[in-house]
């Protein structure tokens, strides 16, 4: 399990991840996180405030994108820093299929302190949903 600092190089790509998100997943995340904003489960409310449909919590998108890194390292505790911008919402239709978030990433730097910087790309319906998403991780020797 996991990857070692001696095994990685700048430009290496992480194993890609595709995460399906349905309405049920949004309800489950609402309960787990305590974020019950109706834009994440009530289509009538979402469209009234100008959204195309119910959208995923930005924090859920951030969390599933972060799994790219934690599954690669095998240790969620290896992530020292993780930051994103929410550039576009993930629209989750009530059609039995929902949405899919496709996550990829590569190593953009190996720092002098032995940490590694990963740049993450997250897309849904072929459009980027996160901007400037990066993680700093400490890998074992």
């Amino acid at each position: 399990m996991g990857v070692r600092i001696s095994e990685v190089a700048v430009g290496d790509r992480l194993p890609e991840l595709s995460v399906p998100l349905t309405r049920a997943d949004l309800v489950r995340y609402a309960g787990a996180s305590g974020d019950f904003n109706p834009i994440h489960w009530n289509e009538r409310f979402a469209t009234e405030v100008g959204l195309p449909d119910v959208i995923a919590h930005g924090m859920l998108t951030m969390a599933v994108a972060g799994r790219l890194v934690s599954e690669w390292t095998g240790d969620p505790g290896a992530i020292l820093h993780y930051g994103v911008r929410f550039t576009r919402p993930v629209v989750v239709p009530d059609d039995g299929t929902g949405a899919q978030v496709d996550v990829s990433g590569k190593i953009s730097a190996i720092n002098e302190d032995g940490t590694v910087k990963v740049v993450i790309t997250a897309k849904s319906a072929s459009q980027g949903v996160l901007g400037g998403a990066t993680a700093i991780v400490r890998l074992p020797e």
Partner: protein, 152 residues
């Protein structure tokens, strides 16, 4: 109306302690479909060098968002939360959050900007144990859409 710039630098009193439970970590990990045994199995977590199961990296949002309420519900600030969307989020982990932690959160307003009719509120949550050990710094940028209309 634009948000009052004098709120920049304002800190709010610490939240009451939040007790991190193993089942809450497991529930959160399941909600983000994170299968890591380190979030579920105490023995696996110990084998990896942790004293108990650890939380996924974005678990801290439960604490930071809860603490944000002090700001977004501050009648003096006058933020219209129905117009607020999440613009940016970052977590700096001083160590992983783990089951058994008793955590308090202090939030402060780092910055307020107005641009093109929108208010941008940057909020920092410092999460530490009740004993004072720093655990996580969570920075959030909240955007209140259209609240600064007619200015600038």
């Amino acid at each position: 109306m634009s948000l009052d710039q004098s709120f920049i630098g304002r800190a709010y009193p610490p939240t009451r302690p939040y007790e991190v439970g193993r089942e809450k970590i497991r529930e959160f990990a399941s909600a983000i479909k994170d299968e890591s045994p380190l979030c579920r199995d105490v023995e696996a977590a110990k084998a990896a060098g942790y004293p108990d199961v650890i939380a996924p990296p974005t678990f801290a949002v439960i604490l930071s968002m809860g603490a944000h309420d002090a700001i977004v519900e501050d009648p003096q600030l006058g933020l219209d939360y129905s117009r607020v969307v999440h613009g940016q989020q970052e977590f700096t982990h001083h160590r992983p959050i783990r089951a058994g932690d008793r955590l308090v959160t202090v939030v402060r307003v780092d910055d307020i900007k107005t641009r093109a009719g929108n208010d941008f509120l940057t909020v920092r949550a410092e999460i530490s144990t009740v004993e004072g050990e720093p655990v996580c710094t969570a920075k959030s940028m909240l955007v209140a859409r259209g609240t600064a209309e007619g200015e600038e």
